[in-house]
């Protein structure tokens, strides 16, 4: 039984097919990378899973029970945490308070009181490397730190599945290494991860499988190294001419 399974998921915006018959499954312990050119439907896919968008057709199953049409907070409490590509902190709160909100509301079982949520936040902040900045107001954080905070807030929910939407975008090489290290720690703690990424080093570095979206459809799915060499993927990213030239060079 898969942890999460999508079958024939479609989502239209007016005349645009943002997602068309997308089907795939995520197993417990998986690290699945989703790549694809801008506008391919990657973020739409995450929004459908986390319940922010309603599906037009198809179904999403969490441990074989359908979660289609559930409100976002119900899906969150099932154990699905997510981050946003454009970070969405709670601006009037400190780093610690932001993180505590995840523990306060996202836990599937027992309800935490604010005090317990705050100490929970401290533990999580150490995992993502924000421990020393816990009392900062979020507006003082740099971009990489704000991305870490997104992850911390989601982790405080103790999710079983974590959806990461481009947590590495806009980071420099050193910061990417640090973020990679963070993702590995999360993976090793037993959390299943689905991540959207443009940085190929990340896909190759942590993902067990990769899936390429293009114009809302799944183009290729498989081990990251194979996927990145696939002619259709190169075409989607760089155009047909470039793909032909590459093939000529290799032969």
């Amino acid at each position: 039984m898969s942890l999460l399974a999508l079958s024939d998921v479609s989502k239209r915006f007016g005349g645009v097919n943002a997602l068309a018959d997308v089907s795939f499954a995520v197993e417990q312990g998986d690290v699945l990378g989703i790549i694809g050119p801008n506008g391919a439907g990657k973020t739409t896919l995450l929004n459908c899973i986390s319940g922010l968008y309603h599906l037009d057709t198809g179904d999403i199953r969490w441990e074989s029970a359908s979660i289609r049409g559930l409100a976002p907070h119900r899906i969150a409490r099932l154990g699905i945490g997510r981050t946003f590509q454009i970070v969405r902190p709670f601006p009037s709160m400190t780093v610690r308070e932001n993180t505590a909100m995840g523990a306060l509301f996202g836990r599937p079982g027992a309800r935490l009181q604010p005090g317990a949520a705050l100490s929970e936040a401290d533990t999580v902040l150490d995992v993502v490397g924000l421990g020393e900045k816990r009392h900062y107001p979020v507006l003082r954080l740099t971009v990489p730190d704000r991305k870490r905070l997104e992850v911390a807030r989601a982790l405080a929910m103790r999710p079983r599945l974590l959806l990461l939407d481009e947590v590495m975008a806009g980071l420099n090489q050193v910061e990417i290494e640090q973020a990679l290290e963070m993702v590995r720690r999360v993976r090793d703690s037993g959390v299943t991860i689905v991540l959207i990424e443009h940085v190929m080093k990340v896909i190759v570095g942590v993902c067990k499988r990769a899936l390429v979206l293009n114009f809302g459809r799944i183009l290729v799915e498989g081990p990251p190294a194979d996927v990145l060499k696939d002619r259709r993927v190169i075409e989607a990213y760089l155009g047909q001419r470039y793909a032909r030239e590459q093939e000529r060079k290799e032969t």
Binding site: A71, A76, F90, M101, F105, R111, P114, L118
Partner: protein, 341 residues
């Protein structure tokens, strides 16, 4: 953890606390000098009819501004329809006492229920709207509710409702004081519970709140209902206090603007901000108006004040007490940039 008052430096907090306690003791005890026994004992009369009228009105606005703050300040939904809750509370008491002959005390218990149910019904569709759409929609509901009430025969239609007169300044003063205390206490408690953090999360970023597990629709509607119940209590007390109500008196949009102004001026999102705003502003209004033609100027003045406050001190005067911001030209330039972006 998030309430702004907690961030005040301790020395300032102590002195504010002392001043508040003295003012509170005066307000609670001074009316007692109007009791016959006190007068016979030769105590000076500290409170006359005018004092009671002004202070009870101030307390009424403490309730209304605090209630508005729960929706507008904590949850971030600027409601221009809260006056409908006040009006419905007033008409609930009015109809039960004047038409059905209920005792006032019993009718007052129903006063919060009717507006809260109304908030539940209109909250479900209205709270799906955001920003100025929500503001305009609630304004419409507020005005429409008044117009409907104005055309219902049993509610006195355009004549209004007359309640049997109860002559006791003391009773209405203490009732309103209790309501104000309840409103502030409610806010204070909300700010320290899971529920309050949920509301703040919705204010700060609603989608982020939803995906970390906040039941946003339930929280928003609950906040709306709590605000409605509190406003309804104030309306119910007002109906019997004034012994006459009509649409113009209890469904005045200008009163809704006033409660917003009080909350924003004092510091929206805090427990004590709306109280400070209500006290200061209502005293100014009472001084400016003094009845008669003065009220026109006070209306104009209030409109200008609201615009200036929203543009230049969007976080309220309480922002200056946190040690984070200083009152300076630079502050105004910065907030101007923030609010005009």
């Amino acid at each position: 953890m998030i309430a702004r008052e907690d961030r005040l430096p301790p020395r300032l907090r102590r002195s504010i606390f002392a001043v508040t306690m003295v003012a509170l003791a005066y307000v609670i005890l001074a009316p007692l000098t109007s009791i016959d026994a006190a007068q016979q004992a030769g105590l000076p009369l500290l409170t006359d009819k005018v004092w009671f009228r002004i202070v009870t009105t101030v307390l009424m606005f403490v309730v209304l501004a605090s209630a508005w703050n729960i929706v507008g300040g904590l949850t971030g939904y600027a409601s221009f329809g809260n006056i409908a809750f006040f009006g419905l509370g007033a008409y609930t008491v009015g109809a039960l006492v004047a038409n059905r002959g209920w005792p006032f005390g019993l009718a007052l218990l129903v006063a919060p229920i009717v507006p809260a149910l109304f908030a539940l019904v209109i909250g479900l569709p209205l709270l799906r709207l955001r920003g100025h759409y929500f503001a305009v929609a609630t304004l419409g509901v507020g005005v429409a509710t008044g117009e409907v009430v104005n055309n219902v025969g049993p509610l006195g239609a355009s004549t209004g409702l007359f309640l049997p007169i109860v002559r006791s300044d003391l009773l209405f003063f203490y009732l309103m004081l209790a309501a104000a205390g309840l409103a502030v206490l409610t806010t204070w408690v909300i700010l320290r519970t899971r529920f309050g953090y949920g509301l703040l999360a919705i204010r700060e970023n609603e989608e982020a709140a939803a995906v970390i597990g906040v039941n946003t629709n339930f929280y928003k509607v609950a906040a709306f209902c709590i605000a409605a119940a509190l406003s309804g209590i104030a309306g119910g007390i007002f109906a019997q206090w004034n012994s006459f109500i009509n649409q113009e008196l209890v469904f005045a949009v200008s009163d809704n603007v006033q409660m917003i102004l009080m909350a924003v001026l004092g510091g929206a999102g805090t427990a004590l901000g709306p109280v400070a705003g209500a006290v200061v502003l209502e005293l100014i209004i009472q001084t400016l108006a003094g009845g008669g033609s003065g009220s026109v100027y006070s209306q104009i003045g209030l409109g200008i004040l609201l615009a200036v406050c929203v543009i230049f001190i969007p976080r309220g005067v309480i922002d200056f007490f946190g040690g984070r911001s200083k009152l300076s030209l630079r502050y105004f330039r910065q907030t101007l940039r923030e609010t005009s972006a």
